[in-house]
């Protein structure tokens, strides 16, 4: 069992992610009512939120340093924040502002942060090879940093998954592959896309450990990831972790979710991983009620400040669109 400090850190991390994602739900709606128009409002475009999937991000990234590379997907905020991305620059990028990570050029699916060696991609599974490359560079440069590649259950049927795992295994690279299995790829349930129940079993196809974290528990994730990260760091090669997690919101904001029943949604919300974990911490005394409330309070302040920063920041000059094609 991790120390109380670690447990409190996991909790704090998950809470600030949750608050950030919830803030995004409402910011995203701004300017889009009454008639929803995806192009309107301060935050236009697709918006994929990760509420419910905080345990994966918090549990894995707790083991990382900023110099470790992390690649994520179209649903990247939780991982980015857990790995230490500056929340204000993240928010500013999502608002398309000049103070954003990419001066507004990237947007929510294309976040690149040199401070935390973070990158993501909106193309399913195609962030995985990049992670292999980071790990390759670390090995060549003699650094003991590692790379972590997050991806969804839907991604595990894409060719890039197979190629990346084989290459990382073959070259014994320090990569941890983390599959966030939220049981859905947009409207397609996992059993309609994946020939076997658990992607962790696919580790065997590359001779690497495949570990299943069977429920959405940050401690279980923390422990599985601890082993995988340590193995990678000491030169023991890649591993694959699959985490059964929950997508509490639509695939993207505005998704009518006609493919999910109200019962399923209710069930997921009821077993909310943050509330469950928090309850345990309070029970065991790792967290008292005041401490708990402070965590939520502080997170709210942090998120509000980040969003306010983003809101107040100026847009980049229109003609700056032509910059940065080449270095």
């Amino acid at each position: 069992m991790p120390s109380d400090d670690v447990l409190r850190d996991l909790h704090r991390q998950m809470v600030r992610i949750r608050i950030f994602e919830e803030a995004m739900v409402s910011v995203y709606q701004e300017g889009k009512t009454p008639a929803f128009d995806i192009a309107a409002g301060p935050v236009p475009g697709e918006m994929h939120l990760a509420a419910g999937q905080e345990p994966a991000a918090a549990g894995v990234c707790a083991h990382l340093r900023p110099s470790d590379a992390v690649t994520a997907t179209h649903r990247p905020h939780h991982v980015a924040l857990a790995h230490g991305m500056d929340m204000s620059r993240l928010a500013a990028e999502i608002f398309g502002k000049d103070a954003g990570l990419g001066h507004g050029k990237g947007g929510h699916m294309h976040l690149f942060d040199t401070e935390t060696n973070f990158g993501c991609s909106g193309i399913i599974a195609e962030g995985m090879p990049t992670a292999v490359g980071h790990a390759l560079a670390f090995k060549k440069l003699g650094r003991d940093d590692i790379a972590v590649s997050f991806f969804g259950d839907g991604a595990a049927n894409q060719g890039a998954f197979h190629e990346s795992l084989n290459l990382a295994a073959l070259w014994n690279l320090p990569v941890v592959f983390v599959c966030e299995d939220n049981a859905w790829a947009i409207s397609v349930p996992k059993d309609k896309s994946t020939a076997i129940p658990n992607n962790s079993d696919r580790g065997a196809a590359y001779g690497i450990p495949g570990v299943l974290v069977a429920d959405n528990d940050p401690v279980a994730v923390y422990e599985a990831a601890g082993e995988a990260v340590a193995r990678a760091r000491r030169g023991g090669g890649p591993s694959l972790i699959e985490i059964k997690t929950d997508r509490l919101l639509g695939h993207f904001e505005g998704d009518p979710q006609l493919y999910r029943t109200k019962e399923e949604m209710d069930r997921l919300r009821e077993r909310d991983a943050i509330r469950a974990f928090e309850g345990r911490l309070v029970e065991t005394g790792a967290l008292d009620e005041a401490g708990r409330d402070r965590v939520w309070q502080e997170a709210r302040v942090e998120v509000d400040a980040a969003i306010e920063f983003a809101r107040q920041s100026p847009y980049p000059a229109p003609e700056s669109a032509l910059d940065h094609v080449f270095a």
């Binding site: 929510h108 699916m109 896309s193 700056s320």
Partner: protein, 339 residues
Amino acid sequence: MAVAAKRLLTTSKAISEAIAEEMERDPTVFVMGEDVGVYGGIFGATEGLLAKFGPDRVMDTPISETAFIGAAVGAAVSGMRPIAELMFVDFFGVCMDQIYNHMAKIHYESGGNVKVPMVLTTAIGGGYSDGAQHSQTLHGLFAHLPGMKVVLPSTPYDAKGLMISAIRDDNPVLYMFHKGIMGLGWMTPNPRATDDVPEEPYTVPIGVADVKREGGDVTIATVSLMVHRALDAAETLAGEGIQAEVLDLRSLVPLDRQAIVDSVHKTHRLLVVDEDYRSFGMSGEVITTAIEGAFDYLDAPPVRLAYPDVPIPYSRPLEHFCLPDAEKIATAARELVGR
């Protein structure tokens, strides 16, 4: 045949109706792709089909574009007429080999013996801040590669007729629909995305351009959503006494070169508008076509207004700086006619 009553349909409904009618007519037609079933296609192109035809003929797939587009190729060779959907054209890079080395080449490599009658549908276009990996049009890229037809409807009427033609075509057809012409409730409203569409099946021929507006002063040649932008510009220009002819190419392969030449013969001036990247694409090809067929008729060098050669930026002011729009088209047309 009696004239059908006026029946307003969005482009997305026109497309799904076309598919449904062909599926009823021909049991070998089926649909596959990501979220084409209960979701009805992210951009609505397959809405209602699952309910009508069931999961054996409207198949949700894993995120395995290489496998399922390749499976469509194989199924087409073995007697089916698949319609496969690549959700966004931007994803072509994960499955391009199946598209251009297999779908598009098998007929030729077989010396004409094997046919690959399939339709590959895909959504194109930006303007709603979806960033560099979800906003491209890329029609110029596909049109560069031999062996597949490349169709780009701009209106509900054309969308239905071209889809029926595509399904009945014995060749692979890439059918690219712009998100901004679909008439979706969650996209910026576009009045031209809803129009009168006959209920009964009909075809619009692939390879025939369409003059969407006649005019004698300048030809504006374009495709897809930019047809709408060009029509808007033409209205403004008309108010200033400039009559623009808006030529909707409708397909890039085959390209109706004669229509381009004919229009330039008439107007003596050519403006090409393209949402695809400027260089090495459609705009250069259309201009070269005019040079090859109407050089002596040109009163001024043809001009192009296209997406600059930069990845699509996310931020709204940046993206709109890059996108051609009615105002920029009108300005370019004015300059071209010297006013």
